[in-house]
Amino acid sequence: MVLLIDIIMSGLISGSVFALLAIGFSLIFGVARIVNIAHTAFYMVAAYCIYFVTQRMGLHPLWGMVTAIVLVTLLGIIAYKLFINPIREHHGAVLIATIALAMAFQEVMGLIFTGSYLSVPKLIQGYHVILGVKVFYQQLLTFGAALLILAGLWSLLMRTKLGLAVRSTAQDREVANLMGINEARVAMMTMGLSVGLAAFTGAVVVPLTVLEPHMWMHPLIMMMAVVVLGGLGSLKGSFLGAYILGFAEALVVFLAPMGAFLKGSVALSIMILVLIIRPEGLFGVSFEEER
């Protein structure tokens, strides 16, 4: 029973984190066809931002969250303008530009904060005991905030004019352009939105993890697996895929021997099994080949 609650909590938390990251990643891929490897690097930068504001400047964690989200979103837009926009037509070049960006962020953070493990105080202290298991309020907060933001994003995409523009650009860039949508601006705003999501994820999850400059690698891989599993460009797919992989990881960690080493392998094997049966992912639309 104790184990079950542990598994559920851990699965819910990592599932929400993967869902937030994957939706941001597939947004910018859908709109601008950018495979943004640096996506989780922004998440890492946000986490370090919070560390700086709370530990070095001694402010309340809430301020840390706000500054992290604002600063990282700005950073994302600047990086997009400077390094990605000029070479957007060359897909290969964009790809390694984002890898290089991620490496640069990792190194800068390593230089400023050193490579050692750091941690950040929780936003709300305390825990509640459910059937003999400590469930920290921070865990519940992370989960709740993730759901809230996902709901907000859903209504932004489905109910507003900006969302309509984003969706139509994702569907067909040329036609969207012909309909009078400023495609370049939509791409930039989507970049801001996607990086903002990454920053938010970093902000809510950082009290539960340790900070180190390489912390972007594992989420990056899981995020990509989620995106492929759920189907590129499908919000519902990313959402469901994230929880599937999150729970798979949690189950392996708590139940299998050597689980901590195998958690990535098992989750990724599930993704590959699904792909063998459904090559376009769970909810992906198998659209005509782009020629």
Binding site: I37, I99, A100, I221, M224, I276, E290
Partner: protein, 346 residues
Amino acid sequence: MDLIFFYLRKLFNIIKNEVLVLPSRIIVVLFFLFLLLIPLFTSDPYLLRIFTLTSIFAILAASWDLLSGFTGQMNFGHALFFGVGAYGAAMLNKYAGIPPWGTIPLGGLGAVLAGLIIGIPCLRLRGTYLALTTLAFPIILMGLVFAFPNITGGELGISGIARLAKSRVADYYIAVVVMLGLCTIMWKITDSNTGIIFHAIREDELAVRASGINTTRYKLLAFSLSGFFAGISGGLYAHFMRIAGPSTLEVSMSFQVVIWAIFGGIVTIYGPVGAVFVLFPLMEVLRFWQDYRILMFACVVLLILLYMPDGLFRWLREKIEKECPRCKIRSIATRKTCRICTAQLD
């Protein structure tokens, strides 16, 4: 005697009429000579070590180009082939006692097997799906490596395997000659009929299938060929470093290959090779600023891409050579007319 003179004259004619007319060909010949003659001028072990490693990674980058550049099957998990080659060679050497000249090709064959295993589920995927899926395979294998530490050595890897050769210079020559040979073979493959089909698959798979060509078979062939070359480079690496560790399977290894290849210019073979010969020694030079090394590397890559998004070596080649608009044959950029058909070059 006459026969020898005949071949000498033929060689002389080829050099005069085919090689000396184009600066890029002269550069390639000079590059070959330079690599083969370095040990005559220096026996500095550090320098030789860098060039040996550079050659080994050049094979890896070129094999990525064969699969992802020419055939268009974006592979983000190229470290899988490298790691399988390295671990295969190391295990065969350590547990079966086979000497390096046997383990390296066998490791390459192991990588071919890996290529087939990942090729079959990946055949139905294309583009970004394929890229993101292939990323998963080395990580799965790495999980297995950590889970069975008594066979694979876990985090420490398999150490204490046989040396490639007795001396540094011999190591160097083995790596360089294998590199030059394999890269020439890869270039020949891309130039052959098979290579044209690879190229066509990348441009328009549907049209190739419509022309009655079994694209599945050719894609699997591309996976196995690329896997074989990458596996050989992995085996060479394991025997040269005398250790096969999990670092050969890391995500950063896969990304490194992609950076090298795209930086040099894909769909060329010479581009990735040249890029490794620029970027790998650059990393060694940057060792003087240890803390800023990777940061500076990333900045160099970013800045060069801003100005040459097609890759460094393609950009350079465009600068020194022009393509004839009529017969599509290249001439040196200083000429006013094409060297073959005398059409005006602009």
